[in-house]
């Protein structure tokens, strides 16, 4: 075990958690938001103690932090691999951009603003929210795959006896 592998491994596990919760939101949460205004009134009541946003606001920065550490620790020993990790971090930053620009306004409509619009309007907003979430899931899945590939390469590079081998310098 070394910092290269530990930082990448933790980033991989956290990214996989993000992927799982993203899929869960599309499979479990989004369908239950349809049928406004009753469904949304119930959803607002259900999330009285915590909400998914609180979970993501902790998990996403932690994932990005460990990905950044993975990039730092792998920058010199693995020049070829660093771009995989940079691409993974870019994917997660892109999910943040989508969250702030696309989902937050829709969250306000669904969970904060008074429910004064016709039901069809809210169902359309929920559908848009779910489609946007599929994009976030696809980006997170890309990050997970890139991290998985990086983990396999790091495991091979750090095989006892391989560190500093001439073979590695060719990567």
């Amino acid at each position: 075990m070394n910092l290269r592998m530990v930082s990448t491994g933790i980033a991989l596990v956290l990214s996989a958690m993000l992927l799982g919760t993203g899929v869960y939101q599309n499979v479990v949460d989004a369908p239950n938001y349809k049928g406004a205004p009753t469904s949304l009134e119930r959803a607002r009541g259900f999330y009285h103690a915590t909400n998914p946003g609180m979970f993501f606001r902790a998990l996403v920065p932690a994932t990005q932090l460990f990905l950044l550490l993975a990039i730092v620790f792998n920058w010199r020993p693995a020049p070829g691999m660093r771009w995989n990790l940079v691409a993974a971090l870019s994917c997660l930053i892109a999910t943040d951009v989508i969250t702030f620009r696309f989902h937050y306004p829709r969250n306000d409509i669904l969970f904060v603003a008074p429910l004064t619009q016709p039901p069809a309007y809210y169902d359309r907003v929920v559908t848009e929210w779910a489609i946007g979430n599929y994009v976030r899931v696809a980006l997170t899945l890309t990050a997970v795959v890139l991290l998985l590939v990086s983990m396999i390469r790091i495991a091979r590079d750090t095989t006892p006896g391989n560190i500093g081998s001439p073979v590695l310098s060719m990567r």
Binding site: M5, M151, I152, A155, R156, T159, P160, N162
Partner: protein
């Protein structure tokens, strides 16, 4: 096992059965459900660690020959 034997009965109480018991009873059921879920999480974390260790070993075992040839320790 934990899900079927421990959580499914506790899912039924607050989500399906008539809510005729006092509030403290449901609070206790939810607390038990959360405690059981922490155990499920611990089991899953153990599985993740085991899978990660296996993945590292497989990656090293299936490394290209030129990489494996540098392994002088013999231990994987």
């Amino acid at each position: 096992m934990i899900t079927f034997r421990f959580h499914f009965p506790r899912n039924r109480i607050p989500l399906e059965d008539p809510l005729t018991r006092p509030a403290a009873y449901y609070h206790q059921v939810v607390t038990e459900w959360a405690a059981g879920n922490s155990i499920r999480l611990a089991v899953i974390v153990t599985a993740i660690v085991l899978v990660a260790v296996s993945m590292i070993r497989i990656a090293r075992d299936t490394a290209p020959k030129e990489l494996r040839d540098f392994n002088t320790s013999g231990a994987r």
